[in-house]
């Protein structure tokens, strides 16, 4: 077990460098004139341009820029955004908001998906099962770029149930609608996996044994079936956390939430290399750590799995 974790951590280092290198290269390739992009329509004087170019090493070759960047990163310095703000400061502001958003989304999605999935799994072919099938199919087929503005229009503006945009310091209520939109990204798959997992486990031999033991239906389903059925679902929920982070780019953009996605969205538009790479690096680490945790959780949930 310990050896496995160490091996995975070592693999992570490689993945991390590979990922940052690729992201850095992509941002570099995308850079046209970042200073102009930053200034917008206003003209930049030659002296300012020269000073900024030197400060951000913009005239150096790619590998050298990457080298400067990594040197800073490894000494804990994420560098400065082209706007002049320290990226570490921006992160301490943005990450809590996004983590809150993603957690709310995850809890909503998992609760709804598992509850509805278990009921559907037990009552296959029932009215409830068919209705959830149709609803989840509709949600699944709507991309988030459609779903987010649509939800904003209907629930935020027309009905006025939620604030249409979140603002600088969003509270729980302001994050609820964006979290619902974000959660709907993963709810359909989680529900379907729960349903088929429950249905499959209900037919298994150990359920027959549990019934032969004279256990109540509540206990057979609530303990024996559920514990087995949730193994694939928990794994899926873990992997979905990554999906929620990437989904946050659009959602935060639409609802004006000052989180990771919002910053990334702006960084890409303004060709702000250090900002994009910095945020993506942390995203990569989050992805890797979550995946490791999910794998470890899998072994904890299913005693048949042992890591060597």
């Amino acid at each position: 077990m310990f050896r496995y974790i160490v091996r995975r951590l070592l693999q992570m280092i490689l993945t991390f460098f590979g990922a940052t290198f690729i992201v850095y290269a992509l941002v570099f390739a995308n850079q046209d004139d970042p200073l102009q992009a930053l200034a917008g329509e206003r003209p930049i004087t030659a002296s300012v341009r020269q000073a900024l170019t030197e400060r951000y090493h913009l005239d150096e070759p790619f590998l050298k820029q990457y080298w400067y960047y990594m040197k800073g990163l490894l000494s804990g310095d994420f560098g400065t955004s082209l706007t002049g703000r320290k990226i570490s400061d921006m992160m301490t502001q943005a990450w809590p908001v996004t983590i809150k958003l993603a957690l709310i989304a995850m809890v909503i999605a998992a609760t709804v998906a598992v509850t509805a999935g278990v009921i559907s799994g037990i009552r296959r072919g029932s009215m409830f099962d068919n209705t959830t099938l149709v609803v989840t199919l509709v949600i699944l087929s709507l991309p988030i770029v459609v779903l987010a503005p649509l939800a904003q229009l209907i629930f935020g503006i027309k009905l006025g149930w939620f604030p249409p945009t979140a603002g600088a310091h969003p509270d729980f209520h302001a994050l609820l609608l964006p979290a619902l939109v974000l959660g709907s990204l993963v709810i359909a798959t989680e529900l379907r996996v729960t349903r088929s997992s429950v249905a499959e486990n209900l037919r298994s031999d150990y359920v027959r044994t549990a019934r032969a033991k004279g256990l109540s239906r509540k206990r057979v389903i609530g303990v024996h079936v559920l514990r087995n059925s949730l193994i694939p679902v928990v794994t899926l929920i873990g992997v979905d956390i990554g999906g929620l982070m990437s989904g946050a780019i659009v959602t935060e953009g639409v609802f004006n939430i000052p989180g990771v996605g919002f910053n990334l969205f702006r960084g890409i538009r303004t060709e702000d290399g250090p900002l994009v790479v910095g945020f993506v690096s942390i995203l990569v680490i989050v992805f890797l750590v979550v995946n490791l945790l999910v794998d470890l959780l899998y072994a904890a949930l299913d005693p048949r799995i042992r890591y060597e």
Binding site: S204, D205, Y206, R208, T209, A210, R211, A212, K213, G214, L215, S216, R219, H224, R227, N228, I231, L301, D302, P303, R304
Partner: protein, 344 residues
């Protein structure tokens, strides 16, 4: 052995003098989208304390479904009990409300399944699955339940029971797993044990150990044992009486020696003749021609008639042969049982 008076308190109407288990004219059908599959068509048998009844038959003849119907763990839908009685000491279990029926399971009637690996829950320890019985049925504390579980594992001769109580089913060997199943079935001292092909998934030496253990435990507790199997070798050693099932009917019921010596139903006879024997080495093995009928379309008259060497016109017409009394305690559903018995 459970105290009879305590049992009467739990199950009103219990008659200590009535047969331990009496199945009368049991009918089970499965309603599927392809039609109605009649899995059990009038099964009859009786079981007394300390007695071993073997239910014998090919795959798909309704043996396991009968057992599940007795236990009340039939998957319903698609399975439905359409007719018949399952009486435990005079109480018709089929008429009990579900929550009372549930208490009969494991307390009075317990069951062992074929493949212990899939029949045990993979994500709980053996100790948890055993303790669960004591905790749920007897309201014992976790510590007491664990202590009782260790005793049980000792009784079924699992070495180092105390150390193994925290192991998961996949950490046991096949034979040990089946011992765990047996321990689980016997936890609450049931009076009837149904063993559904308990040794089919095991190799021959382990089979003998498990059958030996079952016989020993049965004797200690004076339990009635229903042994469902298709293995005639296993049956000969342990059974007192045999019920041969074909297409959901008991076609012959007889004491074990009688049936081996002089079967009265052509199907039982054919089954016995299809056992490979060392003294018949080099000769053609007698096999039963054809296949058992599809349960969705059981032939008119005697269900065995298309494969039977004795079949005449009367066998191909309804009504099917009744259970003729061949001798006291011995029945056969064949119009020509005299011919079959005397044909040796």
């Amino acid at each position: 052995m459970t105290d009879i008076q305590a049992q009467i308190d739990v199950l009103p109407g219990l008659d200590p003098r009535a047969p331990l288990l009496e199945v009368t004219d049991l009918h089970v059908e499965f309603r599927t989208q392809y039609g109605i599959s009649r899995a059990v068509n009038g099964a009859n048998f009786m079981l007394q304390p300390g007695e071993t009844l073997a239910i014998l038959g090919e795959s798909g003849c309704g043996k396991s479904v009968t057992a599940q119907a007795i236990m009340g763990i039939l998957d319903s839908p698609p399975g439905f009990i359409t007719k018949g009685e399952v009486k435990y000491r005079g109480i018709d279990l089929l008429k009990l409300p579900e929550n009372e029926r549930r208490k009969v399971r494991a307390n009075q009637i317990a069951m062992i399944f074929q493949d212990a690996l899939s029949a045990l829950n993979p994500v709980f320890t053996v100790g948890y699955q055993l303790s669960e019985l004591f905790r749920m049925h007897k309201g014992m504390s976790r510590a007491d339940a664990k202590r009782r579980s260790i005793e049980l594992l000792d009784q079924v001769k699992i070495p180092a029971a105390r150390a193994r109580i925290g192991d998961y089913p996949h950490q046991f060997s096949g034979g040990m797993r089946q011992r765990v199943m047996i321990a689980m079935a016997l936890a609450l001292d049931p009076e009837v044990l149904i063993a559904d092909e308990p040794t089919t998934a095991l190799d021959v030496t382990v089979q003998a150990q498990i059958m030996g253990l079952l016989a020993e435990l049965q004797q200690q507790r004076n339990m009635g044992l229903i042994l469902i199997t298709h293995d005639m070798g296993v049956v000969a050693d342990v059974a007192d009486r045999i019920s041969v099932m074909y297409a959901g009917k008991v076609v012959e019921e007889a004491p074990v020696y009688d049936i081996y010596a002089r079967p009265a139903h052509p199907y039982a006879k054919a089954l016995l003749e299809s056992i490979p024997r060392l003294d018949m080495k080099g000769q053609q093995l007698n096999v039963i021609k054809g296949l058992p009928p599809a349960l969705t379309s059981i032939p008119q008259g005697c269900a065995f008639n298309p494969r039977c060497a004795y079949a005449r016109d009367v066998c191909r017409q309804d009504p099917p042969p009744p259970a003729y009394i061949v001798a006291p305690g011995r029945t056969a559903r064949c119009h020509f049982w005299r011919e079959v018995v005397g044909d040796e």
